[in-house]
């Protein structure tokens, strides 16, 4: 299948491992990602809280480019934040004529197309589960991740809020209170998914800089719950949670102790590993939280 690929800013920076492992896994399973190479920032929380019109214009420009330049009807992003921003802009355009008018006149003024809010926006985790699915992963596994215990973590904006994700209204969306797509995919790799109550709790990442001590407390609570549940590592589908839980982990440990020390990887990295890709290709040395050590100890890397 052919689909527009919107990586977002993080995947072109600190979350490079997520970008590269997503592309590897997509290619391996026959998903043709057309990278929207002239993408701009989705606006994230900061634009949304500062200026309503801009918070629709920025995502609309990305989707307009996907339509006009790449001729796709669907866009996939691996980032929970970008996913939220794109869906939110579409909701506004479809439910609010004034918002739609603002966006259309903006696109016209800057010489773009006539995007109308009708792009099908997918999260890479949701897309991969629905279009490929655990069965195909299982049959593609060359190196089962036997003996590896993982906590499957989703973050917030992947499944919430329903007004934007249309969970419960669209048949392919994950369960919003108890997401399971990633759990099933990870089980297919041979890993053991531990029972983990904080799978859809907040990591505090939105305030990682503005309110550091609270963000660290929330992150520590996620990491330590995963560790208590017996996990060897935490697996996630969001680069913003990645920044909060992995890059900030040394600071979190300083404030909350070793109970918050746990390797953090993206789900695409583990799927890639199970189908025989090398840790080097999958950038498994990138995380600050050092997943290579535990992977080596289990004979998986």
């Amino acid at each position: 299948m052919k689909i527009g690929y919107f990586p977002g800013c993080s995947l072109k920076g600190m979350a490079r491992a997520y970008d590269e492992s997503t592309k590897i896994v997509a290619q391996e399973f026959g998903i043709d990602l057309m990278e929207i190479d002239d993408f701009n920032c989705c606006g994230a929380l900061e634009v949304k809280g500062s200026n309503e019109k801009l918070s629709y214009m920025l995502p609309a420009r990305v989707m307009d480019s996907a339509k006009g330049r790449f001729h796709v009807d669907a866009v996939v992003t691996p980032c929970n934040g970008c996913y939220h921003s794109l869906l939110r802009a579409n909701s506004a355009m479809n439910e609010n004529d004034a918002a739609k008018g603002d966006v259309i006149s903006f696109l016209k003024d800057v010489g773009y197309g006539t995007y109308e809010g009708d792009m099908d926006v997918r999260h890479f985790l949701e897309l991969f589960y629905n279009e490929i699915g655990p069965e195909k992963v299982k049959s593609a596994v060359k190196k089962p991740l036997k003996g590896l215990k993982v906590a499957s973590y989703y973050g917030c904006l992947y499944e919430r809020p329903k007004t934007i994700t249309k969970t419960g209204y669209k048949s392919k969306r994950d369960d919003s209170e108890n997401p399971y797509f990633q759990d099933e995919l990870l089980k297919a790799t041979g890993a053991e998914v531990v029972e983990f109550h904080a799978s859809a709790s907040c990591c505090g990442g939105a305030h990682a800089l503005q309110d550091e001590s609270l963000a660290a407390t929330l992150s520590a609570s996620v990491l330590s719950s995963a560790k208590e549940a017996g996990a060897d590592m935490l697996v996630l589908p969001c680069p913003l949670c990645g920044a909060a839980l992995d890059i900030k982990q040394p600071e979190i440990i300083k404030a909350h102790g070793e109970k918050a020390k746990l390797p953090v990887v993206y789900f695409t990295q583990l799927i890639g590993l199970s189908i025989g890709k090398t840790p080097k290709e999958l950038k498994l040395s990138d995380p600050i939280s050092n997943p290579m050590e535990v992977l080596k100890s289990k004979g998986l890397a």
């Binding site: 993080s10 600190m14 606006g43 900061e46 809020p161 505090g204 939105a206 503005q210 600050i288």
Partner: protein, 214 residues
Amino acid sequence: MAENTDKMVIDGVELTGIWKEFLPSRILYEDVTTEFLDEVKKLPGGSTIVRCYQCGTCSGGCTLPDFVDKFNPRRFIDLVRRGHYDILVNENKDLVWKCVSCQRCTHRCPRGVNTQEVVRAIAKFLEDRKVFGKLTNDEAFDEIFMEEVIEDGRIDEIKIVKDFYAKTGRLKEMMSADQLSLGFKMLTSGRIKLFGGKIKDWKKVSQRLKEELQ
């Protein structure tokens, strides 16, 4: 609507009119001012505050009360709607801005209140009224973020962190041994790009976005 205008007597008072007028809005008491409500409604994301019927589902599922004592979205909304500005400022100004945008409240709200954005709008309302006596971290970060998105089209993580620390007078912290070793790892592994990707034609878009802010 003739069928709704039958005469009706309640507590000895004869009433006429349309039935629906019987359901008074909870906040229309004589001593209540809607001045603050009107302001919050106009801020980004604030408009759905009027839909709230105070059920408390937002506060029940909220991430923060376990970590931040007395954090209560339902109460913030109620105080704005009842015009209790003093209580909002004196007892809640250091709470409202702490929302981490996890969206559980918005997701579960049975009335379609965009709760997370409403809470952010209330925080912005307080910021605009200068109740903090200084530039808050949220304001500082939002300002830098807006500037950099409009200027470059994309966010460079290192640049925004550096500019945020500079704006809030904490640049020294970035020079700590931990931060430097982290930066070194990012740089040597190629995750910090000294020359970020430029977007073709962005100047024109940037110009248009700036006009929007004027």
